[in-house]
Amino acid sequence: MTLTEPIVEGELRFRLMERYRVLDGLLLRLLTEAGMNWLRTNAAVVNALNVFPVPDGDTGTNMTLTMQSAWAEIANLPDRSVGKIAHALAHGALMGARGNSGVILSQLWRGFARSLDERYEVDARGLAAALAEARDTAYKGVVRPVEGTILTVSKDVAEAASQALESGAGSSLEILEAVVRAADDSVQHTPELLPVLKDAGVVDSGGKGLFFILEGMLRAAYRLPLDRPLISIQPLGEMALAEAAESVEPGQDWEVVVDFRPEVPLDLPSFYQRLESMGTSIQVGEGDGLYRMHIHVPDTTQFLPIEYVHTLGTVTNVHLENLMDQMAARAKNAAAPLRLAKVESGQIAVVAVSPGPGLARVFASLGVAALVEGGQTMNPSTQEILGALEDLPTEDILILPNNDNILLTARQVADLTAKRVRVIPTSSVPQGIAAMLAHDPNGDPALVASAMEAALRQVRTGELTLATRSVELDGIAVREGQFIGLLDGRLVVADGSLETAMLSLLEKADASQAELITVYSGADLLPAEAGRLADRIRGAWPKQEVELHEGGQPHYPLILSIE
């Protein structure tokens, strides 16, 4: 639900209009804090607005950090003058600006503050003028402004404020109402101005972030809660069920996940209410009419949510997981230390980037001397890789980046150290593992490196992940919430079922010509489900050897190696 219409009426609304007729420093403070909190609550939504089908966005996080830095400047400021508070906010935003959107946000605050100058309080007219000055300052910061971004939203916001003033708005609250409505509208229109957004089927993330800040302010005025989205229905692809099992408290003995199609449209408030009476950690996802409900419930009542959902429509899938048991198993696993290969001076050491704990074990067992955590959405810094190799007692180092996004970072490391570093250009985990099989710590570094490069070409890589949005790529139409299969980095299949996507990916990879198919299951995939999928591969390709390993990588339920 968004606040695009005034939801407060009558006597209460009259009182609010009076209270917000002019803004002093205290009110601006209250509104800013609310804007920051509402943005933080919705940061994941903003982060998810990325242009590619794999998650890589951080606009929501960057804008939230910028707002937090602005807020820190005024948190202990006793001033009641709106001008002084605004200047302090602008200063804090400038000092803490993160990312492109953070810099633009800090410029908006700067213009806003300049317009308020030394004033003690500001009325509707002054507020509209300050929003116009904010827009002007933001636009001055770039030679060729790109429309369809946060800049456009700031322009539409300023325009709406001045129109509201012309049609007689007398309270800052009315300006704020008009501004939130305009921001929402403007964000919806960004794809029409910026083709890259339209192609990806998303709205601009920076603009959406600005909308949440403004909407948070209005919510505070209406006295609505800011700590969680009223009703959160997330695209299926964004449901982060992995962290659920990290910390389990008493009363969260079972994890229940039910997929269902409701017979009549779901009444969300009462749905949530019923679930809240049963357990905790409730998440609901929707994609294509299919709902997924996630909940943690105490022992002995684990079937209650399933029975309840059953009354609402057709249940298509049920997962029950004993979390207490899983935790115990994890604790046991964690106890076994990772044993990295020992290298001596004069030998060749390998540094590998690994996206998951299980994969780290595989690399360690193959003779990797140092591991750096990293993958698709968590690229390690040059510093991290550098630190890992500087500690090794030998001069000849090979780096396995295992991801295209990390290749350049790895190459930069080579320039930053006195050691002799070679980067083996592995763009996936299976390539890295194949290269490792050709490693010889006692060989000639140049020959070993070229043998490893040759080896990585012997394997084909299949990766399966959830599309976080609808997009058309390489001639394949992907709907949000579908599983997509990438063969050697290229999108080849999209399907609602992981199993079907996996099988057609293997088909495309000519699995029948292969000898060995290795399956690395992701952190989000339940072990029983991984076992079942491996059995499906064995059934479909009986001549091939199929191995299953727990990879533990995030975002990718399955990584397949076909060789």
Partner: protein, 118 residues
Amino acid sequence: MPGESDLSGRILISPQAISTIAAQAALRSYGVVGMGSKNLWDGLAGLVARDPHHGVEIHTTADQVVIDLYVVIEYGTRISVVASSVAHSVRYQVERALGMPVAAVNVHVQDLRVSDTD
């Protein structure tokens, strides 16, 4: 500079072409309000000719591209973030157009422009 190809024959991309891509990307990057000059002579030449490559230097070796950007940044923005964002955006645009990695993008902040005093 030479590019690899499966066909017989080579694709040659001039440093001028690369610098045009780089300059366009830099001017669209937020916080960059102009391209600077390495020295006075360059500055005059840039003013006179409205050179689209102004403020960009391309160094190529056998298989590497290094880009030097001379930029003017808006006073009052966080310079470190603007500089890293322009470097990132220029690298992305050039790599996408060329299909080969850029070894380094160096950003030289030559000046700040003060449009408003707070």
